[in-house]
Symmetry: C2
Subunit: 189 residues, 2 copies
Protein backbone atom coordinates (compact mmCIF):
# COMPACT_ATOMS: atom_id res chain seq x y z
CA UNK A 1 0.00 0.00 0.00
CA UNK A 2 1.38 3.35 -1.01
CA UNK A 3 1.45 6.48 1.10
CA UNK A 4 0.91 9.96 -0.38
CA UNK A 5 3.87 12.32 0.09
CA UNK A 6 2.35 15.30 -1.73
CA UNK A 7 3.11 17.34 -4.85
CA UNK A 8 6.87 17.46 -4.36
CA UNK A 9 10.05 17.14 -6.40
CA UNK A 10 11.23 14.04 -4.63
CA UNK A 11 12.02 11.76 -7.51
CA UNK A 12 15.46 10.28 -7.12
CA UNK A 13 18.29 10.20 -7.69
CA UNK A 14 19.29 13.51 -9.26
CA UNK A 15 22.75 14.37 -10.62
CA UNK A 16 25.12 16.93 -9.09
CA UNK A 17 26.47 19.04 -11.93
CA UNK A 18 28.22 22.40 -11.93
CA UNK A 19 27.21 24.98 -14.54
CA UNK A 20 30.01 27.27 -15.73
CA UNK A 21 29.27 30.72 -17.21
CA UNK A 22 30.78 34.13 -17.90
CA UNK A 23 29.08 37.34 -16.83
CA UNK A 24 28.87 40.37 -19.14
CA UNK A 25 32.34 41.47 -18.04
CA UNK A 26 33.93 38.07 -18.56
CA UNK A 27 34.10 37.00 -14.92
CA UNK A 28 33.70 33.24 -14.55
CA UNK A 29 30.99 31.83 -12.29
CA UNK A 30 29.96 28.30 -11.36
CA UNK A 31 26.71 27.05 -9.81
CA UNK A 32 25.60 23.62 -8.62
CA UNK A 33 22.42 22.14 -10.08
CA UNK A 34 20.49 18.99 -9.27
CA UNK A 35 17.63 19.92 -11.59
CA UNK A 36 19.20 18.71 -14.81
CA UNK A 37 19.49 15.86 -17.28
CA UNK A 38 20.11 14.80 -20.84
CA UNK A 39 17.06 15.82 -22.88
CA UNK A 40 17.78 14.86 -26.51
CA UNK A 41 20.13 12.61 -28.49
CA UNK A 42 20.06 14.49 -31.84
CA UNK A 43 21.07 17.22 -31.48
CA UNK A 44 22.78 16.10 -28.27
CA UNK A 45 21.26 18.35 -25.60
CA UNK A 46 21.37 18.74 -21.83
CA UNK A 47 18.91 20.72 -19.73
CA UNK A 48 19.71 22.60 -16.53
CA UNK A 49 17.16 24.55 -14.52
CA UNK A 50 17.94 27.77 -12.65
CA UNK A 51 16.02 30.39 -10.73
CA UNK A 52 15.92 33.89 -12.23
CA UNK A 53 17.52 35.23 -9.04
CA UNK A 54 20.81 33.45 -9.72
CA UNK A 55 23.74 35.04 -11.48
CA UNK A 56 24.07 31.98 -13.70
CA UNK A 57 20.55 32.58 -15.08
CA UNK A 58 21.50 36.08 -16.26
CA UNK A 59 24.89 34.92 -17.50
CA UNK A 60 23.40 32.24 -19.75
CA UNK A 61 20.96 34.70 -21.28
CA UNK A 62 23.76 37.23 -21.84
CA UNK A 63 26.34 34.83 -23.28
CA UNK A 64 24.03 32.20 -24.80
CA UNK A 65 26.38 29.47 -23.62
CA UNK A 66 27.28 27.38 -20.57
CA UNK A 67 29.28 24.33 -19.58
CA UNK A 68 28.18 21.35 -17.51
CA UNK A 69 30.96 20.03 -15.28
CA UNK A 70 30.83 16.66 -13.53
CA UNK A 71 32.58 16.65 -10.15
CA UNK A 72 34.20 13.57 -8.64
CA UNK A 73 33.48 12.55 -5.02
CA UNK A 74 36.85 14.01 -3.97
CA UNK A 75 35.53 17.38 -5.19
CA UNK A 76 32.23 17.22 -3.28
CA UNK A 77 33.20 20.01 -0.92
CA UNK A 78 33.84 22.45 -3.80
CA UNK A 79 30.71 21.28 -5.61
CA UNK A 80 28.65 21.93 -2.49
CA UNK A 81 30.23 25.36 -2.10
CA UNK A 82 29.16 26.17 -5.69
CA UNK A 83 25.60 25.51 -4.50
CA UNK A 84 25.86 27.57 -1.31
CA UNK A 85 27.65 30.75 -2.39
CA UNK A 86 26.25 33.29 -4.87
CA UNK A 87 28.22 34.68 -7.80
CA UNK A 88 26.55 37.99 -6.98
CA UNK A 89 28.59 38.14 -3.78
CA UNK A 90 31.84 36.27 -4.28
CA UNK A 91 34.31 34.96 -6.83
CA UNK A 92 33.66 31.25 -6.41
CA UNK A 93 36.70 30.22 -8.46
CA UNK A 94 38.99 32.32 -6.27
CA UNK A 95 37.40 30.85 -3.13
CA UNK A 96 37.75 27.22 -4.23
CA UNK A 97 41.10 27.58 -5.98
CA UNK A 98 39.66 25.82 -9.02
CA UNK A 99 40.59 26.95 -12.53
CA UNK A 100 38.13 28.33 -15.10
CA UNK A 101 39.29 27.54 -18.65
CA UNK A 102 37.78 29.59 -21.46
CA UNK A 103 36.22 27.20 -23.99
CA UNK A 104 37.42 27.52 -27.59
CA UNK A 105 34.00 26.42 -28.79
CA UNK A 106 31.44 28.33 -26.72
CA UNK A 107 31.41 31.55 -24.71
CA UNK A 108 31.72 29.92 -21.29
CA UNK A 109 34.38 28.53 -18.97
CA UNK A 110 34.80 24.92 -17.92
CA UNK A 111 36.45 23.71 -14.73
CA UNK A 112 39.95 22.36 -15.42
CA UNK A 113 40.05 20.06 -12.39
CA UNK A 114 36.70 18.29 -12.94
CA UNK A 115 37.00 14.98 -14.81
CA UNK A 116 34.22 15.45 -17.39
CA UNK A 117 32.91 18.68 -18.90
CA UNK A 118 30.41 19.46 -21.67
CA UNK A 119 30.54 22.68 -23.67
CA UNK A 120 27.08 23.88 -24.65
CA UNK A 121 25.58 26.59 -26.79
CA UNK A 122 22.17 27.79 -25.69
CA UNK A 123 19.57 25.94 -27.76
CA UNK A 124 16.25 26.69 -26.07
CA UNK A 125 14.90 28.58 -23.07
CA UNK A 126 11.88 26.98 -21.41
CA UNK A 127 10.06 29.09 -18.81
CA UNK A 128 8.41 26.77 -16.32
CA UNK A 129 7.75 28.77 -13.15
CA UNK A 130 10.26 29.33 -10.34
CA UNK A 131 12.87 27.71 -12.58
CA UNK A 132 13.84 28.39 -16.15
CA UNK A 133 15.14 25.37 -18.02
CA UNK A 134 18.09 26.15 -20.26
CA UNK A 135 18.59 23.54 -22.95
CA UNK A 136 22.13 23.51 -24.27
CA UNK A 137 23.33 21.79 -27.40
CA UNK A 138 26.44 19.81 -26.48
CA UNK A 139 29.18 20.95 -28.85
CA UNK A 140 31.89 18.82 -27.25
CA UNK A 141 32.53 16.71 -24.19
CA UNK A 142 36.03 16.74 -22.78
CA UNK A 143 37.42 14.35 -20.19
CA UNK A 144 40.65 13.77 -18.35
CA UNK A 145 42.68 11.08 -20.10
CA UNK A 146 42.75 9.20 -16.79
CA UNK A 147 38.98 8.55 -16.89
CA UNK A 148 38.64 7.79 -20.62
CA UNK A 149 38.11 4.24 -21.81
CA UNK A 150 37.08 3.23 -25.35
CA UNK A 151 36.29 6.82 -26.30
CA UNK A 152 33.93 7.38 -23.39
CA UNK A 153 34.10 8.25 -19.70
CA UNK A 154 34.28 5.27 -17.37
CA UNK A 155 31.93 6.06 -14.48
CA UNK A 156 34.05 3.98 -12.08
CA UNK A 157 36.97 6.32 -12.75
CA UNK A 158 34.93 9.55 -12.87
CA UNK A 159 33.26 8.72 -9.53
CA UNK A 160 30.36 11.16 -9.92
CA UNK A 161 27.81 11.48 -7.15
CA UNK A 162 24.08 11.98 -6.82
CA UNK A 163 21.77 13.91 -4.58
CA UNK A 164 18.84 12.82 -2.45
CA UNK A 165 16.88 16.05 -2.50
CA UNK A 166 14.64 15.91 0.49
CA UNK A 167 17.17 14.35 2.82
CA UNK A 168 19.84 16.71 1.45
CA UNK A 169 22.58 14.11 1.33
CA UNK A 170 25.07 13.32 -1.43
CA UNK A 171 25.67 9.69 -2.36
CA UNK A 172 28.46 8.08 -4.34
CA UNK A 173 27.68 5.88 -7.31
CA UNK A 174 28.11 2.30 -6.17
CA UNK A 175 28.53 -1.12 -7.73
CA UNK A 176 27.71 -2.23 -11.26
CA UNK A 177 24.48 -4.20 -11.27
CA UNK A 178 24.35 -5.35 -14.88
CA UNK A 179 24.42 -4.44 -18.57
CA UNK A 180 21.55 -2.38 -20.00
CA UNK A 181 19.56 -3.82 -22.92
CA UNK A 182 20.71 -7.24 -21.72
CA UNK A 183 19.47 -8.21 -18.28
CA UNK A 184 15.83 -7.64 -19.31
CA UNK A 185 16.06 -10.16 -22.13
CA UNK A 186 15.28 -12.89 -19.63
CA UNK A 187 11.72 -11.56 -19.57
CA UNK A 188 9.23 -12.37 -22.30
CA UNK A 189 11.86 -14.02 -24.43
Amino acid sequence: MKQSLGAKTLLLPTPVWIVGTFDTEGKANAAAVAWGGIVCSKPPCVGVSLRAATQTHGNILAREAFTVNVPSVAQAEAADYFGIASGHDVDKFAATGLTPVKSDLVDAPYIAEFPVVAECRLFKVVELGLHTQFVGEIVDVKADASVVEDGSANIERVKPFVYNTHRRIYYAVGKAIGPAFEIGKAIGG
Copy 2:
Protein backbone atom coordinates in the same frame (compact mmCIF):
# COMPACT_ATOMS: atom_id res chain seq x y z
CA MET B 1 45.01 17.95 -20.07
CA LYS B 2 41.59 17.11 -21.37
CA GLN B 3 40.77 14.90 -24.32
CA SER B 4 37.91 15.68 -26.71
CA LEU B 5 35.22 12.98 -26.85
CA GLY B 6 32.95 14.73 -29.35
CA ALA B 7 29.42 16.14 -29.36
CA LYS B 8 27.83 13.31 -27.40
CA THR B 9 25.32 12.82 -24.61
CA LEU B 10 27.81 11.32 -22.21
CA LEU B 11 27.20 13.38 -19.13
CA LEU B 12 26.74 11.13 -16.13
CA PRO B 13 25.11 9.74 -14.21
CA THR B 14 21.54 9.60 -15.55
CA PRO B 15 18.54 8.20 -13.68
CA VAL B 16 16.65 5.06 -14.66
CA TRP B 17 12.96 5.85 -14.49
CA ILE B 18 9.94 4.09 -15.92
CA VAL B 19 7.20 6.17 -17.56
CA GLY B 20 3.67 4.79 -17.20
CA THR B 21 0.92 5.71 -19.68
CA PHE B 22 -2.42 4.57 -21.08
CA ASP B 23 -3.06 4.27 -24.80
CA THR B 24 -6.29 5.53 -26.38
CA GLU B 25 -8.01 2.25 -25.50
CA GLY B 26 -6.89 2.25 -21.90
CA LYS B 27 -4.13 -0.33 -22.21
CA ALA B 28 -1.27 0.38 -19.80
CA ASN B 29 2.27 0.74 -21.11
CA ALA B 30 5.60 1.40 -19.42
CA ALA B 31 8.88 2.60 -20.93
CA ALA B 32 12.34 3.11 -19.46
CA VAL B 33 13.96 6.54 -19.76
CA ALA B 34 17.42 7.80 -18.85
CA TRP B 35 16.82 11.19 -20.48
CA GLY B 36 14.95 12.76 -17.57
CA GLY B 37 15.22 14.93 -14.50
CA ILE B 38 13.50 17.36 -12.18
CA VAL B 39 13.08 20.65 -14.05
CA CYS B 40 11.22 23.04 -11.73
CA SER B 41 10.39 23.41 -8.02
CA LYS B 42 7.21 25.57 -8.34
CA PRO B 43 5.18 24.12 -9.88
CA PRO B 44 6.98 20.86 -9.11
CA CYS B 45 7.83 19.44 -12.53
CA VAL B 46 9.74 16.52 -13.99
CA GLY B 47 10.86 16.19 -17.61
CA VAL B 48 11.15 12.94 -19.57
CA SER B 49 12.31 12.76 -23.19
CA LEU B 50 10.96 10.27 -25.71
CA ARG B 51 11.31 9.59 -29.42
CA ALA B 52 8.20 10.10 -31.55
CA ALA B 53 8.45 6.44 -32.64
CA THR B 54 7.63 5.15 -29.16
CA GLN B 55 4.15 4.24 -28.02
CA THR B 56 4.67 6.26 -24.84
CA HIS B 57 5.15 9.45 -26.91
CA GLY B 58 1.73 9.04 -28.53
CA ASN B 59 0.12 7.96 -25.27
CA ILE B 60 1.25 11.09 -23.43
CA LEU B 61 -0.09 13.34 -26.18
CA ALA B 62 -3.40 11.45 -26.21
CA ARG B 63 -3.94 11.27 -22.44
CA GLU B 64 -2.02 14.40 -21.36
CA ALA B 65 -0.67 12.53 -18.36
CA PHE B 66 2.04 10.11 -17.29
CA THR B 67 3.65 8.65 -14.20
CA VAL B 68 7.35 8.41 -13.33
CA ASN B 69 8.17 5.22 -11.46
CA VAL B 70 11.46 4.65 -9.63
CA PRO B 71 12.63 1.02 -9.70
CA SER B 72 14.75 -0.55 -6.98
CA VAL B 73 17.89 -2.54 -7.85
CA ALA B 74 15.94 -5.78 -7.27
CA GLN B 75 13.67 -4.66 -10.14
CA ALA B 76 16.49 -3.90 -12.59
CA GLU B 77 15.60 -6.81 -14.86
CA ALA B 78 12.02 -5.58 -15.32
CA ALA B 79 13.21 -1.98 -15.71
CA ASP B 80 15.61 -3.06 -18.43
CA TYR B 81 12.85 -5.02 -20.16
CA PHE B 82 10.72 -1.85 -20.20
CA GLY B 83 13.56 -0.29 -22.20
CA ILE B 84 13.98 -3.19 -24.62
CA ALA B 85 10.41 -4.16 -25.56
CA SER B 86 7.98 -1.92 -27.43
CA GLY B 87 4.41 -1.31 -26.33
CA HIS B 88 3.55 -1.44 -30.03
CA ASP B 89 4.34 -5.17 -30.00
CA VAL B 90 3.70 -6.57 -26.53
CA ASP B 91 1.86 -6.04 -23.26
CA LYS B 92 4.85 -5.22 -21.05
CA PHE B 93 2.85 -5.48 -17.83
CA ALA B 94 1.68 -8.98 -18.74
CA ALA B 95 5.25 -9.98 -19.62
CA THR B 96 6.78 -8.69 -16.38
CA GLY B 97 3.91 -9.65 -14.10
CA LEU B 98 3.96 -6.13 -12.65
CA THR B 99 0.71 -4.37 -11.78
CA PRO B 100 -0.53 -1.15 -13.39
CA VAL B 101 -2.67 0.85 -10.94
CA LYS B 102 -4.93 3.52 -12.41
CA SER B 103 -4.14 6.83 -10.75
CA ASP B 104 -7.04 8.66 -9.08
CA LEU B 105 -5.40 11.98 -9.91
CA VAL B 106 -4.18 11.74 -13.50
CA ASP B 107 -5.08 9.69 -16.56
CA ALA B 108 -2.14 7.27 -16.31
CA PRO B 109 -1.15 4.09 -14.47
CA TYR B 110 1.62 3.72 -11.92
CA ILE B 111 3.49 0.54 -11.10
CA ALA B 112 2.29 -0.96 -7.82
CA GLU B 113 5.52 -2.82 -7.06
CA PHE B 114 7.95 0.09 -7.55
CA PRO B 115 8.85 1.92 -4.32
CA VAL B 116 8.35 5.54 -5.45
CA VAL B 117 5.98 6.88 -8.11
CA ALA B 118 5.05 10.39 -9.25
CA GLU B 119 1.71 11.15 -10.89
CA CYS B 120 2.02 13.90 -13.49
CA ARG B 121 -0.29 15.93 -15.67
CA LEU B 122 1.20 17.12 -18.93
CA PHE B 123 2.42 20.68 -18.41
CA LYS B 124 4.52 21.45 -21.48
CA VAL B 125 5.73 19.76 -24.67
CA VAL B 126 9.21 20.80 -25.80
CA GLU B 127 10.22 19.68 -29.30
CA LEU B 128 14.00 19.36 -29.40
CA GLY B 129 14.88 17.05 -32.30
CA LEU B 130 14.99 13.27 -32.16
CA HIS B 131 13.46 13.51 -28.69
CA THR B 132 10.43 15.39 -27.43
CA GLN B 133 10.67 16.48 -23.83
CA PHE B 134 7.42 16.07 -21.91
CA VAL B 135 7.30 18.23 -18.81
CA GLY B 136 4.83 16.92 -16.26
CA GLU B 137 3.53 18.77 -13.24
CA ILE B 138 3.87 16.44 -10.27
CA VAL B 139 0.43 16.19 -8.69
CA ASP B 140 1.44 13.66 -6.06
CA VAL B 141 4.32 11.39 -5.14
CA LYS B 142 3.45 8.07 -3.56
CA ALA B 143 5.86 5.72 -1.85
CA ASP B 144 5.78 2.37 -0.11
CA ALA B 145 5.53 2.86 3.65
CA SER B 146 8.67 0.73 3.99
CA VAL B 147 10.84 3.38 2.27
CA VAL B 148 9.28 6.49 3.86
CA GLU B 149 11.14 8.39 6.57
CA ASP B 150 10.20 11.84 7.88
CA GLY B 151 7.68 12.37 5.08
CA SER B 152 10.15 11.65 2.31
CA ALA B 153 11.69 8.68 0.54
CA ASN B 154 14.94 7.43 2.06
CA ILE B 155 17.25 6.66 -0.85
CA GLU B 156 19.01 3.93 1.14
CA ARG B 157 15.70 2.07 1.34
CA VAL B 158 14.51 2.87 -2.19
CA LYS B 159 17.82 1.65 -3.67
CA PRO B 160 17.39 3.35 -7.06
CA PHE B 161 20.04 2.90 -9.70
CA VAL B 162 21.69 4.99 -12.38
CA TYR B 163 22.88 4.48 -15.91
CA ASN B 164 26.25 5.01 -17.53
CA THR B 165 25.06 5.70 -21.07
CA HIS B 166 28.00 5.00 -23.27
CA ARG B 167 29.17 1.92 -21.39
CA ARG B 168 25.53 0.75 -21.12
CA ILE B 169 25.86 -0.44 -17.53
CA TYR B 170 23.54 0.12 -14.57
CA TYR B 171 25.06 1.10 -11.25
CA ALA B 172 23.60 1.07 -7.76
CA VAL B 173 23.64 4.19 -5.61
CA GLY B 174 26.42 3.75 -3.08
CA LYS B 175 27.53 5.27 0.18
CA ALA B 176 26.56 8.64 1.68
CA ILE B 177 29.38 11.11 1.23
CA GLY B 178 28.07 14.06 3.20
CA PRO B 179 25.26 16.55 3.78
CA ALA B 180 24.45 19.09 1.03
CA PHE B 181 24.60 22.79 1.88
CA GLU B 182 26.97 21.83 4.69
CA ILE B 183 30.23 20.29 3.54
CA GLY B 184 30.98 23.29 1.30
CA LYS B 185 30.86 25.70 4.24
CA ALA B 186 34.47 24.90 4.97
CA ILE B 187 35.35 26.92 1.86
CA GLY B 188 35.43 30.70 1.86
CA GLY B 189 33.99 30.84 5.35
